[in-house]
Amino acid sequence: MNFAFTEEQDQLRDAVRRFMETKSDEKEVRRLMETAEGYDPELWAQMANELGLQSLHIPEAYGGQGFTFIELGIVLEEMGRALLCSPYFSTVGLATNAILNAGTEEQKSALLPGIAAGETIAALAFTEPNGRWDASGITMEAKGSGDAVTLDGTKMYVIDGHIANTIVVVARQAGSSGEDGIGFYVVDGDAAGLTRTALTTMDQTRKQAKLEFAGVKATSLGDSDTGWTALSKTLDQAAVCLANEMVGGAQKVLEMSVEYAKVRVQFGRPIGSFQAIKHKCADMLLEVESAKSAAYYAAWAAAEDNDELPVVASLAKAYCSDAYFHATAENIQIHGGIGFTWEHPAHLYFKRAKSSEILLGDATYHRELLAQRIGI
């Protein structure tokens, strides 16, 4: 039994943190969040070339480094801490896992090396205007099979869908319902008949797009009708990734709160000496540490790819969503008026926490999923 990171993993964290501190400071986050694309192509290339971040958990056979979800979790945690504006979560946390779970050998060999090399940005187009995260939310129909598929309909809330070179679309066979008939289809970002609209996002640090498909030609990824198992697993893995990302932001706002509570003086004493503030910070620490435990354990289960994954993925997503949001909300309260300003970074984390909470299903959704998964 050992619940700790290895020395190599700690070194990876240090390296990524240093990288983020220089390349994604607050000024840079604010610059990128104002852009339509929402990321810096040069930095995307550096992430691949200098640190190999995009290739981390892709198997060596497909041009990757063959690390696990534990390393991926560490990287995402540091990105969440820095509020990095980047299509990393969409490309690596969502689309790559979908391709790994659903693609044939040939397709994986064709699609993954470009991602690993930092040449491809990929997105997973799953949710629709109904905004649901379960199987019956998928209504878009795919006609045809193999590499002669046609897609019609609308996908919404697609993270980084406006900039992706490769889009993995989830759709269903005509006439199917529920978990049956769901499949993955690959489409080029600039495919004919595809209209992409960048949406204005409440959390400006993570961009979303609306994708309208009008007779778009697509290729089926793996078996077109056994997709639910692969999709469900992809969503579990993505939930684990997101939980780890959220933990990074939560730790950061806890540090902001504690630092401020030590220096802000009112009534002749630091506000952190008042129990009302001190106890808030103590509760934040408890929740942030617990969120870490859940996220790290879930990363281990994802790395092992064991039977626990569905349960711990929902567990981690539920707990980390609540803990992150609570921490960012308390951070604003502890900062008082300054915490309510546009100028102060508190709101950036507050908004990221809310958008992450809703992404992939909120805490209520995942608690219900968990209840089903443990047989309640």
Partner: protein, 406 residues
């Protein structure tokens, strides 16, 4: 990160599994996991069971081999707790002796003291109680007034302790006493070991809201103990007392997580049986409790791993106490919701109700398991450092926030 047994750990798991298989029979098996806080059910059977555990050194698992222990690693402690809980073996009676006093003794005692006290804890001939709190010294423990004075080769103790759990069962008390009459606060305290069976010690039961009387008032009137029965240096009792609290707040509660998980399972089973499991709010609550109890385990494992790596149990252990006591309190409230109307009635007693509450409290106020959780958990955010005190500790010692002005 690795949560799979190594070959040595697997062998250890087999050993305890086999032992439990062989020994957990008859009365012991029938008792199941009953007994424990606010439930003195089957006390004598539990004593007999504890003796079996002691004989085969499962009691004293972590002690050095030279003192009769197994020198068990943390992984082995976890495995033992898991298998013990899985087997649904009786609730332990030696918590104060094995869980709190023994680790303190091992850290601060002389070789002679260890050889005197550890074997009797293991043979379950001597149970211990914790004499810390007094009427004017609760959270503010340094305010203790019970006096200890040397008279020849003996200490003479005068004063009053309160809320002393199992004082009526214990042969010995580890007790914070003021041995320097001119001292104040943390100074001038000594950690005395006092035999309970003597004319100078009077134990009066206090009935709890559960109807049972596990805690007591203890009055010392010229109570005596040998001059050698002081743990650590005379006047240095605060340090020793705090070490005990470290054990209370840290590793000692790890096995509790498994008992909690079992309670939740029972509540889920009840919800399914009485069909409230379909209620979306109850589903949310049960799932949330599941999330909480799993994270309790993960937190514990993380804390123990860092303890093994760095060798000390830091103030982070305070997170554990605050966490589990709140979780359990909420579980109790949710259990009442799952029970519904039935929660409002006390079932007719099966004849072996509360042992002492029967005499002084309302007759046959025999709570069922879920009612007991509901009620007893109210004490858990109070004892062993209240939640407010835990938050102060976390805020000041872990996060480094300024102390409150006095």
């Amino acid at each position: 990160m690795d949560f799979i047994d190594s070959p040595t750990e697997a062998a250890f798991r087999t050993e305890i599994k086999d032992w439990l298989n062989e020994n957990l029979k008859g009365d012991f098996a029938e008792l199941g996991g009953r007994g424990g806080p606010a439930d003195e059910h089957g006390w004598d059977i539990r004593i007999e069971w504890e003796k079996l555990l002691g004989k085969d050194r499962w009691l004293g698992l972590t002690w050095p081999v030279e003192y009769g222990g197994r020198n068990a690693s943390f992984s082995e402690q976890i495995i033992f707790s898991e298998e013990y809980a899985l087997a649904n073996a009786p609730a332990r009676v030696s918590f104060f002796g094995e869980g709190l006093f023994a680790p303190t003794l091992l850290a601060y005692g002389t070789d002679e003291q260890k050889r005197r006290f550890l074997p009797k804890i293991q043979s379950v001939e001597e149970l211990w109680c914790q004499g810390y709190s007094e009427p004017d010294a609760g959270s503010d423990l340094a305010n203790v007034k019970t006096k200890g004075a040397l008279d020849g080769d003996q200490w003479v103790v005068n004063g009053q302790k309160v809320w002393t759990t199992l004082a009526h069962r214990a042969q010995w008390c580890f007790c914070i006493t003021r041995t320097d009459p001119d001292s104040q606060g943390h100074q001038g305290l000594s950690y005395l070991l006092i035999p309970m069976d003597q004319p100078g010690v009077e134990v009066r039961p206090l009935v709890q809201m559960t109807g049972t009387a596990e805690f007591n008032e203890v009055f010392f009137a010229d109570a005596r103990t040998d001059a050698t029965n002081v743990l650590g240096a005379v006047g240095d009792g605060w340090k020793v007392a705090m070490a005990t609290l470290g054990f209370e707040r840290g590793t000692a509660f790890l096995s509790q997580q498994l008992a909690f998980a079992r309670e939740l399972e029972e509540i889920i089973a009840l919800a399914q049986a009485n069909e409230v499991a379909a209620d979306p709010v109850i589903r949310q609550e049960l799932a949330d409790s599941y999330v909480g109890v799993q994270i309790m385990k993960y937190n514990g494992l993380r804390m123990l791993t860092s303890l093994v790596k760095s060798g000390v149990l830091g103030p982070e252990a305070s997170i554990g106490k605050l966490y589990w006591s709140n979780w359990h309190r909420t579980l109790g409230e949710r259990a009442m919701r799952v029970m519904g109307s039935a929660a409002t009635l006390i079932e007719p007693t099966k004849g072996d109700g509360p042992s002492i509450g029967q005499e002084s409290g309302p007759r046959a106020y025999d709570l069922n398991e879920l009612q007991r959780i509901f009620m007893f958990s109210r004490s858990e955010t109070i004892y062993a450092g209240s939640s407010e005190i835990q938050r102060n500790i976390i805020g000041e010692r872990v996060l480094g926030l300024p102390r409150e002005p006095k």
